[in-house]
Subunit: 356 residues, 2 copies
């Protein structure tokens, strides 16, 4: 059985080609049936491949000269995309030369190029950025949108819920993932019109392959009793970054406390299992790999500052989504629901349409 | 010199009268020039006062029968307010019998009653809920709005910035507090129209008694390099709760790690200074007391589940705001800026006006 290839934008990210190639090589060990298309500067990719004969054997290199920079605005990136590693990696997905693309480059540019090139699935108005966050339970929680859409109407949120549930079925194996909308209270009267309308639609809809449980607040995302948390890109980005920032804040405080006395230093050494558990749960590399859901093809964003283990995680997420055919699953879910099941909400004025 | 009294809604909160009275007694030790008006069931207040002769000596009791419950919707609370401890505590501020009111009751009800009774200051369209969060720096950071206004236009955000800066001057002693707007990126093109417009107004305005530094992302709130973070009530509430939830998540993980082996248990005991530091920084009781800014009078919300130390913190925040005349300061700042300085932004459609 031949699995689709994974295209890697080898030039994106703060850490350069080597980290991307090291990460792909690490991921290949766990997903050794996959082939790779490594897109970027051929000389540098070849140099990085020297220590990875197995990856080299299962890869093809697509040479490009151009690179999308962190400073490129989405509009500039769209104009420049053609000859760049990011543009060609996504184009490979469009042309069927790869099943998915992974990039650690500029998120706004990646989103814009992916949307224009791959287009949204039938039934989806806007793609969303989804990631897995750690929980106190057995499974991670899928959260979306994490910043692709600054403002969302209820229809967008409902579509995000369907896409998030499909992802959670892959990630957790749970057939009816527990889905909640992020809100500032659990009562039905709380929140914006968009959030309340989306809840009403999801409550009324049948056949959604999910268990819709109403609202959740941001302090309960990681408790492990919800599989999908749905929100607009502004709040989702704020929540995600608040979680990351607090985790770092705590790590810094702990470091400060532990280094304040010899006694603490000894305590630190002895209590390593506790702090290692913490490190494992809080290290963003262990949760790297955010997926643009809702496009005709899979595009995964690796964090710009991820290390090789982080890149490997992003590639593993990609492999998993390909193995489980998440794109086809979402299309099937949408077709089954058929839009007709989803009461069309009134138009929300003031919502700024994104154009890519 | 006689300081205005502090009215305490003795009936609000999950923990009952005793915690409110114990908290007020604790706070009185540090702020012993203040007098108190204890509002609620006289018999129970008197019983709780038995162990606190000093507080009893500096308090008057205002007996009320009714209590606003956690389930009362704001509209119900407004109708029922008259005979309740919450309603009478706020009324005392309105009538000048107290300078400020503290309640651990239902936030929505408190907001509605306070707005209707005290009205917003001249120059303020909507009050905002502000709190102090811990940072890695020397001072706490003021964050607002934390949930009073689900949606805000740029004019609201600008007013929040002015109010937050006045609070930060009191809390940090810094004459020109560093103010930033919460956004999902630091570039000027990021975020909603409202956030970008507010930034443009704040950049253009002179004489604001603040140093406006543009945008901040939610992972940088607690770094200690910003004194005021301004956002709408939805995002602010999400950010605050994400921080609280992550702190609890980490504490739970640590507990799990430490209890997993004898070695860890010993490590835990030895490393107590580190975990105590963490506990001190992360215990919400140490940061209890959110202020409704922008009303003609000070109303402070204590967390419903706060313990006596938490209530004492909320009362201490109140005392500080009274001592430093924060209401007068905000009025003076607004008068100096004079509205004329703030370019009137275009109306944002779709923003739902709150009516109290």
């Amino acid at each position: 059985m031949s699995l689709p290839r994974i295209a890697i934008d080898a030039m994106g990210g703060d850490e350069g080609v080597r980290v991307m190639i090291d990460g792909a090589a690490l991921a290949r060990r766990r997903h050794d049936r996959f082939k790779f298309l490594l897109v970027g500067d051929e000389t540098r990719i070849k140099a990085a491949l020297e220590t990875h004969p197995n990856l080299r054997a299962s890869s093809e290199i697509l040479h490009t000269e151009g690179v999308i920079s962190g400073e490129d605005k989405p509009s500039q990136a769209l104009r420049r995309a053609k000859g760049t590693s990011m543009g060609r990696a996504i184009e490979a997905v469009k042309l069927g030369h790869a099943g998915a693309a992974v990039s650690a480059g500029n998120t706004g540019a990646l989103m814009a190029i992916a949307k224009l090139s791959l287009r949204t699935m039938p039934g989806i108005d806007r793609p969303a950025l989804a990631a897995l966050l750690p929980t106190l339970g057995d499974n991670d929680v899928v959260m979306l949108d994490l910043g692709a859409n600054t403002e969302c109407d209820s229809r967008n949120l409902v579509q995000f819920a369907i896409m998030g549930a499909a992802y959670a079925r892959v990630a957790t194996g749970r057939e009816q993932p527990r889905v909640r909308l992020l809100n500032i209270g659990s009562e039905e009267i709380k929140g914006t019109d968009e959030v309340r309308d989306a809840a009403a639609i999801l409550r009324a809809a049948a056949d959604l392959s999910m268990s819709f449980d109403g609202f959740t607040e941001a302090d309960k995302i990681c408790r492990g009793d919800v599989d999908v948390v749905v929100t607009d890109g502004f709040s989702g980005n704020v929540a995600l970054k608040a979680v990351e920032g607090t985790a770092r804040f705590v790590a810094d405080l702990l470091k400060r406390g532990f280094s304040s006395s010899l006694r603490s230093k000894i305590g630190f050494l002895i209590s390593k299992p506790a702090t290692e558990l913490l490190k494992h749960h809080l290290d963003p590399n262990n949760h790297n790999g955010a997926v643009f859901l809702g496009l005709n093809g899979i595009v995964v964003k690796s964090h710009g500052s991820a290390n090789a283990a982080g890149v490997a995680n992003a590639v593993a997420v990609t492999a998993r989504l390909l193995e489980e055919n998440v794109t086809e699953r979402i299309i099937a879910d949408l077709a089954r629901v058929g839009g007709s099941n989803l009461r069309k909400p009134r138009k929300v004025p003031g919502v700024q349409e994104e154009r890519a």
